[in-house]
Amino acid sequence: MTHPATTTPRADQRSLRKFCTSPIARLILAGGLSLAIVLVAGVQLGAIDLSWAQVWAGLTGDSSEHVQRVVFELRLPRTLTGVLIGIHFALSGWLLQLLSRNPLAEAGILGISAGASLVAVVAFIIGDWLVSSANPYNNTSFALQYLPLFAMAGGLVTALAVYFLGMRHGHLSPVKMTLTGAVIAGMLHALTTGALAFWGHAHTELVAQWLAGSLYGAEWQHLHTLLPWTLIGLAGVALLVRPMEVMQLDDEHVRTLGLVLNRWRAFALLIATLMAASAVGVVGPVGFIGLLIPHISRRLAGANLSVQLVLCVLLGAVLAVLADLLGRTMFSPYEVPVGVVSAVLGVPFFLYLLSRQP
């Protein structure tokens, strides 16, 4: 965001000091600190707990091959991928909730994740069939970098359908949009299950695990696939903050303030869909992060959308990494997918927030 210098340097310093001691700065600091803690824990803890020295040595490449492999090839990429998917789902949910003026909106509930999953699963099945029929020995995973693209295509088609079916008299009706999304999500889930049953291949397990939303086996490649979309999404969200502030008002009010509403709504929907669907393409549909984190951020930040945005990024990453960490350490050597843990962690907290709502 451009922020033209409008005040004298002294006033800038004063406002900077004022900002640093404000409750908002403390919130952001606390969010950043929790993220740092879960990041370190994510690398340190697991099937084998490492000491600080071992982690440091692993990171700097000055350790045994074993430790280095654990740190550098397993835990670090997995933890960082967790950070990204947390950001993706949280920001997507934040945009969708603002856009539809509906606190329940989220990629999962609106069917965007389901659309992304269906297309990704179908692409996976077809790709797997093509690859194995061409070369029966090359049975490794269907090219990962393409899955997010398929997922995004599925997510976008679903989002467009939900958006246009959610219109009433040429304007978006939040209630209609949410209902439409929920119904379409149900249908797409059924189709995904159907596709899997129809396929009935040995890889079903792999896909089932993916559908539960899992960071299992996340490697650097996952991170590299996701990162460009994270950057695009973050840039898009930053551009959207100011129009979003205005778009919280009544539709007609928004338009008389000079904002071309349909264009901005479409852009916000596009960014929200790209973020959610690209993450679905890499790790599967992880629910609840997109529902919970925006709520928590709103509670903490108040009406300031910029602060909400920063908190969504930080807390989304914290929840995803923490849920993954718990999922892989609690019942070690068994793993509970991050989607399941984030739901189990998140739902009681969400119900608590709901019960406190006036």
């Binding site: 451009t2 919280q248 008002l249 009544d250 007609e252 009010h253 338009r255 303030l257 000079g258 009406a303």
Partner: protein
Amino acid sequence: MLRTEHLSLAYGDKPVVDNVSLAIPEGGITCLLGPNGSGKSTLLKSFAGLLPPRSGQVFLDNRAVAQWDRRRLALRLAMLPQKPIVPDGIRVRDLIALGRFPHRKWWQMNLTIDDNATIDAMAMTGVSDLAERPVEALSGGQQQRVWIAMALAQETDILLLDEPTTFLDWGYQLEVLELLSTLNREHGLTVVMSLHDLNQAAQFADRIAVLANGQLDTIGSPAEVITESLVNRVFRVHTSITAGREGRPFCTGFAESAQSRPRQRPHCTTTS
């Protein structure tokens, strides 16, 4: 300035406004009167370019409103809807600052000049003391002043208001109307609003346009428009009209269905 020529408006297939031609006087207060469903709100929306005409045109400065770029239009014309939505948890100051949106490119933050316009708007509407309060916590009358402040921060010369007094008690209604009257007098703001109360319209308007069944019935000064025959024709009410202060008409009405007319009831006249 703002005028319509043979304007017809419709929601889908349902015609709402039919062949209305009128001109809004610059620097005046114009009230739109008419029964429910007569097309007042719809006409106001078309002034703001929110509803494309089915036929005819709305002109601002001799250029069809539909041709205006939305942002440029927002620099000339502000509108306050009947039931504006308060964003969750927003403070008075931040809500009013949203009125500055059309003055900046959409990626720019507000500048000092915007902060000053916000502060001025708060001073003009008497909400400066409420600046840090959440809007939801304010009374209806205070909220309405905040919304008007937001429209003022937009720094337009035309302000459209859709029934700005509807959800307010009598005291607040007069407070809002007096505020608009002051802004009109002291800052030359052109005000166009729909109202339900004939006497309030008669008291505050320079010009009254009466709509009935989507058509323009009468337009003129309060004394010209508020007559016993018009009120009977348009509102189905028998009235006795007396001359109020400044020669403005004041009417007392009895619904046509009322069997017996009450004789002695207390009634009060506002003085400002």
